[in-house]
């Protein structure tokens, strides 16, 4: 049998090695990057709350701090029109369920100079903060804004919404959490 030239062997080796690394990368990303599903434990998160929007919660808020209460986690940005549309509904719902549910807003990729005036303009009073290095957005695998995650009092993710929500949507989802 004719021996292959060394260059071909080396080139094939490099290509195979690169493909193996690529496949490994995809496998690792697939494991880490799977969007959490309803009925599974909600990914742990740490959010640094804006000083003006702590709503009595710790400056560095973790999901563990909220164990025992249902949580509505909403990702938003000031430039996002659907976020703007749903913001009053969230504020109203946070007041309706004031002592039963914790509302948490996570700003997506913005600086305070944009986020804080927006929160003031919308009259938002519930807890809001920024997502340092996008850790929360990555953990929840968000693909844009708005996205909302409903977490029950045991830390189990019960519902995921990737669309703007109305007051009725929020009521229905929260009633599910309070059962």
């Amino acid at each position: 049998m004719k021996r292959l030239p060394p260059l071909v062997i080396v080139a094939v080796g490099l290509v195979v090695g690169l493909l193996a690394l690529f496949a490994l990368g995809l496998a690792v990303a697939g494991q880490q990057g799977r969007r959490p599903e309803s009925g599974t434990p909600a990914p742990a998160f740490t959010l640094v709350l804006y000083d003006e929007h702590r709503a009595g919660l710790p400056k560095t808020l973790t999901l563990a701090d909220l164990r025992g209460k249902p949580v509505v986690l909403n990702f938003w940005a000031s430039w996002c029109i659907p976020c703007r549309d749903e913001a009053p509904e969230f504020e109203a719902a946070s007041r309706r369920y004031k002592d039963q549910v914790v509302f948490v807003g996570a700003n997506w990729l913005e600086i305070e100079a944009a986020a804080l005036p927006y929160l003031k303009q919308q009259g938002i009073t519930y807890a809001n903060g920024f997502d340092t290095q996008q850790q929360v957005a990555r953990a929840y695998r968000i693909t844009g804004v708005p996205e909302t995650f409903f977490i029950d009092r045991n830390g189990i993710l019960r519902q995921i919404e990737t669309r703007p929500l109305t007051g009725a949507d929020l009521d229905a989802a929260i009633q599910g959490l309070l059962k």
Binding site: V10, L109, I111, Q134
Partner: protein
């Protein structure tokens, strides 16, 4: 060992030095002079737009990018250096904000791996060229045939017939 591996090693080392030279020459420079706008643009050129994949911040006209550029200008006006401003964005939004991976920690792999592949290919090419030139070199027929009784006999018979 013969002198050839030494030449090969020098050749590979030379290629590596050349590659690293090109790499270092391509390092982004931070503007320290120029107007605030120029300095802002220079920093923004090395950051990614947060909402448009693959586009640099300087060239992106979206609202979010305008906010980020405004933040760069604000921080420069406050006396922060270009490096400090860049560090702020990395700390806030992660190393993914950089157009190029940082040359430190695990990110070094992204810089070193192509060099390893490049050097490997150069070494393979050198090896092949060296071997093919050896194969193509004239051999000493007398020495080769003397060791082979069949060849010696064959040559004798051919000479007789001639």
């Amino acid at each position: 060992m013969s002198g050839r591996p030494g030449r090969a090693a020098r050749f590979i080392l030379g290629a590596l030095v050349l590659f690293l030279g090109v790499l270092l020459a391509a390092r982004p420079t931070q503007a320290q002079d120029g107007s605030l706008e120029e300095q802002t643009r220079e920093i923004a050129k090395h950051l990614n737009c947060p909402t448009c994949a693959g586009r640099n911040l300087a060239d992106c006209p979206t609202d979010t990018c305008a906010q980020w550029k405004g933040e760069i200008s604000t921080q420069l006006k406050a006396g922060r250096s270009a490096a400090q401003v860049t560090e702020y964005f990395i700390a806030r939004f992660g190393p993914g904000v950089l157009q190029e991976p940082p040359r430190e920690g695990g990110f070094l792999l992204a810089w070193i791996f192509p060099i390893v592949v490049f050097v490997g290919l150069i070494a393979a090419a050198f090896y092949v060229v060296r071997n093919s030139s050896r194969r193509g070199a004239p051999t000493a027929p007398a020495a080769a045939t003397a060791a082979d009784p069949y060849a010696v006999e064959l040559e004798r018979q051919v000479r007789e017939e001639a």
